[in-house]
């Protein structure tokens, strides 16, 4: 099981977190239809390092950016998103 270091809560078991999507699957709202389809459906699906969006659902609820290896399961970085990133620094 992964142990994910939530910037707010510390290291917690994977059971508290939910994988949401790979970061290349974030759909900007002003995309053209062709680019939107690409973002919705096409994936790099890397075998190796990947940036992903996770949520600490059964903890503080924060959305987190993980830099994670899809074979070794090593986690190189856990970052907060947007405005909440400032809270984490306080």
């Amino acid at each position: 099981m992964l142990r994910i270091a939530c910037p707010y809560c510390g290291r917690r078991a994977q059971a508290e977190f939910v994988f949401e999507r790979a970061l290349d699957a974030i759909l900007p709202l002003d995309e053209t239809p062709v680019a939107a389809v690409e973002h919705l459906f096409a994936r790099d699906n890397p075998k190796g390092w990947s940036w992903e969006l996770w949520r600490h659902t059964a903890g503080c609820g924060a959305w987190l950016k993980l830099h994670r290896h899809t074979v070794t399961h090593q986690i190189a970085a856990v970052e907060t998103l947007g405005a909440s990133a400032q809270d984490a620094g306080e």
């Binding site: 099981m1 992964l2 062709v34 389809v37 990947s50």
Partner: protein, 418 residues
Amino acid sequence: MKRYSTLGLLKAGLSGHRDWPRAWRDPEPRSRYDIVVIGGGGHGLATAYYLARQHGIGSVAVLERGWIGGGNTGRNTTIVRSNYRQPQLQRLLEYSLKLWEGMTQELNYNVMFSQRGAVFLGHSDSDMTRLAERGDALRAHGIDAELMTRAEVARLIPVLDMSPDARFPVQGGLIQRRGGTARHDAVAWGYARAADALGVDIIQNCEVTGFSIRGGRVEGVETTRGTIGADRVGICVAGHSGQVAGLAGLKLPIESHLLQAFVSEPIKPMIDTVIMSQSIHCYISQSDKGEIVLGGDPDLYPTYSQRGVPMRLEEVASQAIALVPALSRLRMLRSWAGTTDMSFDGSPIIGDTPIEGLYLNGGWCYGGFKATPGSGRLFAHHLAGGEAHEIAAPFALDRFARGATIDETGAGPKAQDR
């Protein structure tokens, strides 16, 4: 090919089973083939077999990175059924189920296909409504389905917890009596042996590392055992479809996740059907060796590791024990995991790619084993003639851009969890 028979078995037994010929050759790759199939799992081997058998194409190679049947073909829970809800999937899997019914005879190889029935349990009024609706849809398409009462389910599966305080009370069920299980390794070996006898080269320890593409048309593959030319190339590597298609510069609507399964120590026969549920995600069956075979949800995050998280085993075991309390006395023997192509509508992707001569058969999520013969035969049709078979046509890669997804669970554009 030396045909297997009861008499042959008896004769070989008299000489201590020392003189069996090898079941398929181990050839060096030639410099070119008419058709190259990447992936020596059940789907790739079946594709090669039907190319030779149905379409008379003998110049076919199957390239396998490791050993045949060593990926998801040997890692599933061996369940075969066709009782899906979407009509496109019903046609595909019923086509496949009919091929399962003749497979042992056709291949002269005992795949131990056992039509012991596959039961979905219903635990609530809404479950029973959904099961009745699914059963009606199946029968309307000529597929067998019988709604069962609580008493009928109790008679069929006496080990279920039918007590008043059961965690998952059973109201009834829906059975497909033609569903069941098969021996998954034998499916790979049977297709390999039959394809080899028809002249197909099965080349193991041969990883594809790139494609030769000129003017938007594939001309062959680069491998760890040299360059191999081909007029047409089929990708049958579910779990790694994104990786292999990526070598040709393609991005697919697929994420690679992981599905676990585990088995108990072998015990005397106690479950002679396949138990599934409309509400919870837990499959229970018993192998011919006597092991209780358990499976459930995938791990729900991208990974190629073939190592599952223990929390999923805990969840599946707790559900299985709640359904069949006697299982709590069993010791688990081993667990394993396979890397699965999770497509974004839960359905497979079969057909053309934007590169001429390059075709894809993947995206099987965690339901590919049951489709093995149908998938192989329909993909062979496409590779041989360049056109999709009408049953496979709805599963084209461009369906996502056209908005024509085949969404069994209605979950939208993400990897499906059920």
